[in-house]
């Protein structure tokens, strides 16, 4: 039998116990020998409620086979089915004239002008990383890269947003070291530069780290391809790596809380092979270019099942797959295993009928395999055969769209409301002690400190287009052959979101947009990763709902539509949830990469100005956490219109070439932002002489985290023009000081107290904080 021949249809198999057919179709799926019996226990082990099971029986018109149960379980898991989040996600703005592809595809796509389009998306790998940090993180990067190149875009940058427990805890260090190494090894080998990200350390993430990876790709607009199974009679081909027993039920696994039992699920660990990924990347782009295929999708979470079902669902077609034709790595794999395997570096493509050999030829050039595994059908069924026995026969519509969604009740946890209401005046009153010592201690906090230890493990310059590398406010990568650039950042302060989810999420959007503005990029669109606990808990559902509403409102104001994202729920350990962490990944466009602005002070004699207003706000600050081990108070207020004006003012100043530097004020407040601007990349820290006149207690003035502020610097002759631009945008602008000499003194006067230190003392602490903590045994644990 020729390999291009569609799998033979198992005719003549009558339906077992055929109890009324759906849509005139005769169900024929048969249980396999050795399949376990469908019991209530088995159903609940598959993460399905009895009500959901009832729906399945309704959709099939009969009891599912074991294989079918596995398929439904994966497709109706939170990860694939968005049961608890879909209604909320509808609140997000998704449209704008520049959005080419909104949510629902492998990645969002926006127009970048001149025939260029940008595909980008963020994805979580929290649970796999908790179990095996290195492989969990590595395969997370692999998955998000595939989401990009299956759109027809060449990946040009990655970002990573990470959360771990306290770095003083050896387990947190082990996870941190493994995750960073995993992200690095994978992206470095594929050859995609890292452009930025974030790392936060907080007890709330003990045992349940968050690993969110974002990727950005670039393509010509006309190369866009979708994950659709179009054209009845076209051929389904599996390309790339072979299928093994890796990660079976990863999608359901990702939708469960972590517990002692999770340890026992270890065989699910997926191992990444970045070399194969690199070949698959090149082969996929060549396939798309060749026109031999009409659709392509990663076999990611829930593997072949979700890729085949989703492709069928999007095109309104059916698919028929013969699992006996899937190239496997191990002998004796059952249909259940083949359908649910999450082996990495695999793709499902829809080849134009008759062009299967072209597909094969391209894959062969890249030393990869391609196998015909089925075809697109017109009957709307997701049908799976094992040689000539039908093992699953499910209407694709209910499978992909029939997953019940739940709008749950959300009630704020009164304890958190109490924390928010707590007065903080006792902490900000008075001179605040030795502010120099305080600042030294604060820049030594891993949350504030330089993330150089991380970034140095990532190739940030491969492809030779990285204009602004990680370490500043946002990364910038050039569009090859042009002067234009793409800027990107990820942001989220989990503490703010914990104390006030709606405002916290809005702040995440505002901070991301501000970060982009500071490099000179116009904020354009958003991808997001909703990391929350168990949504069945009303207090968690409340956080989700509020966060989504806050994100939606801010995205509307900044005109940054949400083009995609990911939901990761059940991030809990022993019943304790992580902080609500709606990570924002935002991209922006730069007109001329030669004019980008950086966060570091550039030269002695430049004037330092503050845009925005200092307020007496310590709520949710790093200062409170470090000095009082307290996460409490109102997070900083947010005035979205003022934010927008601030960002537009900064963009105008950069466009006019007025600025030497621009830097956002975030964790650690004004004082820490000044240290960061002084430190630069560490090669030549510059001193400063700053005087603050605000009538605010020094501690709050230096370490409060008021929003809507940026520190800019410029030559003395630019001060006036800068003031004019600020005034035009209605943005408060105050001259606060001057940049000093390399290695000079770092002075901030605030009323009668202040900071006065050699700048190198601060920058040494800033750069060494993480490496000092990491140079222990944990690091070689997985050498």
């Amino acid at each position: 039998m020729s390999d291009t021949e569609p799998a033979s249809i198992a005719a003549g198999n009558s339906a077992p116990g055929g109890r009324g057919a759906t849509a005139g179709h005769v169900p024929r799926a048969q249980p396999r020998l050795g399949d376990p019996e469908i019991t209530p226990e088995l159903i609940s082990e598959h993460g399905l409620t009895s009500e959901e099971f009832g729906r399945i029986v309704g959709a099939l018109g009969r009891t599912p086979t074991f294989t079918e149960l596995g398929v439904f379980s994966a497709m109706w898991s939170e990860h694939c089915g968005y049961k608890n989040s879909r209604p909320l996600l509808r609140q997000l703005p998704t449209r704008a004239p520049w959005v080419i592809q909104g949510p629902g595809e492998n990645a969002g796509v926006i127009d970048a002008g001149d025939g260029w389009a940008i595909a980008f998306k963020i994805e979580s790998h929290n649970h796999p990383s908790a179990v095996e940090p290195y492989q969990g993180a590595a395969t997370g990067v692999g998955g998000i890269l595939r989401d990009i190149f299956t759109m027809g875009a060449r990946p040009i940058a990655t970002l990573d947003s990470l959360r771990f427990g306290d770095l003083d805890d050896p387990r947190a260090r082990y996870l941190f070291a493994g995750v960073v190494r995993g992200i690095g090894d994978y992206g470095n080998c594929v050859g995609i530069p890292n452009l930025g990200g974030e790392v936060h350390f907080e007890r709330a993430y003990d045992g349940n780290p968050l690993v969110n990876a974002m990727a950005i790709g670039l393509m010509r607009t006309d190369r866009l391809i979708r994950g659709e199974a179009r054209g009845v009679g076209n051929t389904l081909m599996a390309v790339g790596a072979r299928t093994g027993r890796d990660g079976i039920h990863g999608a359901t696994f990702a939708s469960e809380e972590l517990s002692e039992e999770t340890e026992a699920k270890r065989p699910q660990v997926q191992v990444g092979d970045p070399f194969t990924e690199k070949l698959l990347l090149e082969a996929s782009l060549e396939l798309i270019e060749s026109g031999a295929i009409t659709g392509i999708q990663d076999m990611g979470a829930a593997g072949l099942t979700s890729s085949a079902a989703e492709m069928a669902g999007r095109a309104g077609n059916g698919v028929e797959i013969d699992v006996a034709r899937m190239p496997t790595r191990e002998l004796g794999m059952t249909p259940y295993e083949i359908l649910l395997s999450e082996s990495q570096e695999r793709m499902l493509v829809v080849a134009q009928r008759g062009q299967e050999d072209d597909v094969r030829r391209i894959l062969e050039k890249w030393e990869l395999e391609a196998a015909v595994v089925g075809q697109v059908t017109g009957d709307g069924m997701f049908r799976v055969l094992e040689a000539d026995t039908v093992v699953a026969d499910i209407p694709a519509g209910p499978l992909t769209r029939g997953c019940p969604t739940y709008e749950r009740e959300g009630i704020e946890d009164p304890e958190i409301a109490g924390l928010r209401a707590r007065s903080l005046s006792e902490f900000s009153r008075g001179p605040g002690g030795d502010l120099s010592r305080h600042l030294l201690r604060l820049v030594d906090s891993p949350n504030v400190a330089s993330k150089r230890w991380v970034v140095r493990q990532y190739d940030t310059t491969v492809r030779a287009h990285s204009v602004v590398r990680p370490g500043g406010d946002a990364g910038v990568v050039r569009i090859p052959g042009t002067l234009r650039g793409i800027a990107a950042t990820t942001d989220c302060n989990g503490r703010y979101c914990y104390l006030h989810p709606r405002r916290g999420a809005a702040i995440a959007v505002a901070e991301a947009a501000r970060n982009l503005a500071c490099v000179g990029a116009a904020p354009t669109a958003v991808t997001n990763n909703l990391n929350f606990g168990n949504p069945l808990n009303p207090a968690i559902y409340y956080q989700m709902r509020e966060a989504v509403l806050g994100m939606a409102e801010a995205c509307r104001v900044f005109e940054t539509p949400v083009t995609g994202g990911n939901v990761s729920l059940y991030n809990e350990t022993e019943g304790v949830a992580v902080y609500p962490t709606p990570v924002i990944g935002m991209v922006g466009l730069v007109d001329n990469v030669e004019r980008v602005c950086r966060h570091a002070f550039a030269q002695a004699g430049d004037q330092i100005l503050l845009l925005g207003t200092n307020r007496d706000e310590l709520g949710g600050s790093e200062y409170l956490s470090v000095f009082h081990e307290l996460v409490a108070g109102e997070p900083p207020r947010l005035d979205l219109m003022a934010e927008r004006s601030l960002q537009q003012a900064i963009l105008a100043m950069i466009a006019d070439g007025l600025l030497s530097s621009a830097h956002d004020c975030a964790e650690g407040g004004l004082a820490c932002a000044l240290v960061e601007a002084s430190a630069g990349d560490g090669a030549m820290p510059l001193g400063i002489e700053v005087e603050l006149a605000d009538p605010i207690a020094p501690v709050a003035l230096l370490f409060g985290e008021s929003q809507g502020r940026a520190i800019i610097s410029c030559g003395p002759e630019q001060v006036e023009p800068v003031r004019v631009v600020a005034a035009r945008h209605g943005v408060p602008c105050s001259e606060i000081g001057e940049v000093g000499k390399p290695g000079g003194r770092f002075r901030i006067r605030a009323g009668t107290s202040g900071v006065d230190l050699p700048v190198r003392d601060l920058t040494d602490a800033f750069f060494r904080a993480i490496s000092t903590r990491m140079d222990g045994p944990a690091e070689v644990a997985t050498a």
Binding site: R181, L279, Q457, T460, V462, R463, A464, E594
Partner: protein
């Protein structure tokens, strides 16, 4: 100057090298490792990346690629061959250069801007620099720790074949300024004939001001001068 950039499965700096050649006024062309036909180039570049994943040893498998036979022949006939990063590793594995590159001292992948000192401006790869000049360019590797037996090291030093050394901002070589543990802070060497050079740092990523450094230009300019002394463009 007409330069062939060999692409191996897993090469990821092929485009960077291509662009670097063109920025230096040359013409670059890719040769897929299986196609082997180098044509008649003025020089060959083995680019960076992770050929075959570098799972066994960096460069170990790529060395057997069909194109490498032709590259070795080309080099033995005096043809200029430049191995950058993974290309350096491949050149060592293929015996075009002595020694080997093992895991970085820290066992970590390193990526940052590194200072280098030009140890010898007397090669066809470095004639555009002055000896002793301190350059800055990105390094990005996990296995860049250059090792060779003591006799080989002595020979390399004695014959002026250590071309680049890792140094600090002021040009001093020390333990601290040695990013990966390389013997004698060696960053780049040439073969006996001087026509094969391997280096771990990335001149291909240091060709444009907007990317932070133009210190890599000298290598490509030197090559251009060497291959067409009259028309240096």
């Amino acid at each position: 100057m007409r330069v062939v950039v060999v692409r191996f499965p897993g090469s990821n700096c092929d485009q960077d090298c291509h662009r670097a050649v063109e920025l230096a006024g040359g013409r670059a062309r890719y040769v897929w490792h299986r196609d082997r036909d180098l044509g008649d180039p003025d020089a060959v570049i083995l680019p960076g990346g992770f050929s075959y994943g570098d799972y066994l040893r960096a460069g170990a498998i790529a060395r057997f690629s069909p194109a490498m036979e032709d590259v070795v022949r080309f080099a033995r006939n005096g043809g200029p061959v430049l191995g950058i990063c993974n290309g350096f590793q491949i050149a060592c594995e293929a015996g075009l250069l002595p020694g080997a590159l093992i895991r970085n001292r820290t066992l970590r992948f390193h990526s940052f801007d590194q200072h280098l000192r030009v140890e010898s401006a007397d090669t066809m790869w470095t004639s555009a620099y002055e000896s002793g000049r301190v350059l800055s360019m990105p390094v990005a590797h996990g296995e860049g720790n250059y090792e060779a037996d003591p006799r080989t090291l002595e020979r390399l030093e004695g014959e002026g074949r250590v071309v680049f050394r890792y140094v600090d901002l002021r040009g001093q070589a020390s333990e601290e300024s040695n990013p990966n543990g390389s013997a004698r802070s060696i960053a780049g060497i040439v073969n006996e004939g001087g026509n094969v050079m391997g280096l771990m740092p990335h001149p291909d990523r240091a060709m444009e001001t907007v990317l932070g450094s133009v210190d890599g230009q000298g290598i490509f300019q030197s090559l251009a001068t060497h291959v067409s002394p009259v028309d240096t463009r």
